[in-house]
């Protein structure tokens, strides 16, 4: 807005109040975002499904052959059965838990890695540490994602988490760049200068004063990363580089390639819709979160 109405008040930024007011207004904004709330609710429902799987409340027979080959939709098999007679509904539910496992592990570790490296290089911008981090980011970004994953899968031979490692080691650069940029901005602000003048150590400044002020970036990056991880899992599982044991939507979809040319779509449709529902809801949630946390965005 050009009117300068947002500049009411005395405009002196004190970090503590700045931080709380950012989160307060973000919460207020988010609470009014209908699409975001719907997204969050749907994600919560999916999470509930995943929790049920982890505790063994449902989807316990996902690996058993419980019916005939390609049984149609029925009260017993809600989504029918697959090529060898396993229940597609149970497999779909079980895969939800896998999706959350992959998404959460990758998102959390990416944010930790990207946040730490980004903050360090931003805080030491211009030094050799910064140069090395920037160089690493450039190198990682230069290798196409799927090739990087294939390469890491080879290097790690049959390690079951090769896919996770691969995603983390490629996804972190985006978070890293964002955090680095923000920290370079923060570094020049008064409260950081003040802390430095008071003789607070560099590590303490980064951890206690700078990183907390990048939390909004980390949160948004985490949601985006979660979505990316779930989508990448599908492709990697299809390529044979994904989930090693257990079941996932990606494995269901690659299984369905044996079925759909013969006219059996249940597996493909079930996995696609379940995955689309979660990713779409998460995208809406992530969007609302970005809107709420970005002070520049006016509704």
């Amino acid at each position: 807005m050009t009117a300068g109405m947002a500049r009411n008040g005395d405009g002196v930024a004190v970090p503590a109040t700045r931080r709380t007011s950012l989160w307060q207004t973000a919460l207020a904004k988010f609470a009014r975002d209908r699409a975001g709330l719907v997204g969050l609710t749907v994600v919560a429902l999916y999470l509930l499904v995943a929790i049920g799987v982890w505790f063994g409340w449902w989807a316990t027979e996902w690996a058993d052959i419980t019916g005939a080959k390609w049984a149609p939709v029925s009260a017993q098999h809600w989504f029918g059965t697959n090529i060898i007679g396993q229940d597609i509904f149970q497999r779909g539910l079980y895969s939800t838990a896998t999706a959350f496992e992959v998404g959460l592990v990758v998102a959390v570790l990416v944010v930790v890695l990207g946040g730490l490296l980004g903050a360090t290089s931003g805080f030491l911008a211009g030094s050799w540490v910064d140069e090395i981090v920037l160089w690493t980011m450039g190198v990682v970004d230069a290798v196409p994602f799927y090739l990087m994953v294939a390469a890491i899968a080879f290097a790690l031979a049959d390690y079951p988490y090769a896919m996770h490692v691969a995603m983390i080691s490629t996804f972190w650069t985006t978070t890293g760049r964002f955090v680095r940029g923000e920290v370079i901005k923060l570094r020049g602000l008064e409260f950081v200068e003040a802390a430095r003048a008071l003789g607070v150590g560099q590590a303490a400044i980064v951890l206690r004063h700078v990183l907390p002020n990048t939390l909004h970036i980390l949160l948004v990056q985490m949601t985006l990363c979660f979505v990316d991880a779930i989508k990448a899992e599908v492709v990697l599982s299809f390529l044979g580089l994904g989930v090693k044991d257990g079941m996932s939507w990606g494995l269901m979809i690659s299984e369905s390639t044996l079925e759909f040319l013969a006219g059996h779509f249940n597996n493909l449709v079930a996995a696609s819709l379940l995955m689309f529902g979660l990713v779409y809801a998460f995208n809406m949630f992530a969007d609302a979160l970005q809107d709420a946390l970005d002070p520049k965005r006016v509704a």
Binding site: T2, M5, N8, R32
Partner: protein, 328 residues
Amino acid sequence: MAGVADEPLLSVRDLAIEFDTLDGPVRAVDGVSFDLRCGETVGLVGESGCGKTVTGLSLLRLVPEPPGRYAGGSIRFGGRELLALPEAELRALRGRDVAMVFQEPMTALNPVFTIGSQLTEVLRRHRGLGRREARVQALALLERVHIPEAARRLDEYPHQLSGGQRQRVMIAMALSCGPRLLVADEPTTALDVTTQAEVLAEIRRLQGELGMAMILVTHDLGVVAETCARAIVMYCGVIVETNATAALFAQPRHPYTLGLLQSVPRVRETRLAELPVIPGRVPDLRSLPPGCRFADRCPRVSERCRAEEPALTPIAGGGQVACHHPQP
């Protein structure tokens, strides 16, 4: 000119402009009325957020819509109602009849085109000049606003010029089609002090030479005193006082105007530490008090001020003030 002397060049009546915010619509300008005759200079003064910039932008109908909205009133310019004018006619008017100079010389010019290209574009559009002719004119304009080495500057990009020079280019551009009204929004605020004085003198000189009317939007009363014949003081979206500049400075009637005048540092007379400050804060436009908007900060406040909003009424000596208890 004699025939239209009765009708003012610009006539703003009960102008109201709203902005949509998360907490519902907010009135940034709430019932502003004023007139401007040909060749007259008026200063629009107030703190940031008082609605002066929005008022200035509305004179070219440039308030961004959405989130902004013209909620009522009228703006008549040269006998035409601007708020009812179709977009194509507005475009023909902008830059030709009404021109604007903006606050930020650093960002107001397009960084990827040369100065010459941006100047000639306006000349060719509004005055129908050919390419070569427009370039000759552009050069003359740059020389007119005293840009050194004008011929070379034509082929340079904005980032190669200093802030003061860029603002001179803006002024040259604004004057290129001989507008009848110039709206200058804080034209010197972003410049350093010596440049400020030079640019201001330039504006004053050109205004006199061309005989155009001018509205100077500023928070700086000193600038108004040097440049404008009349001043309009705004507070929280309304006009609180208007008068000839000399009268306003000699005898401010609204307590807010008095406060503004007292907080202008006079280097030789007062030390900065003793500078009086208006106590309190500007109220939030989203939750205005029912009565006078200045009541909470006013030393002369009474019960009536909190209940009833004062209207702008004529006072002895030619001005108008919106106050139940004006300064004697």
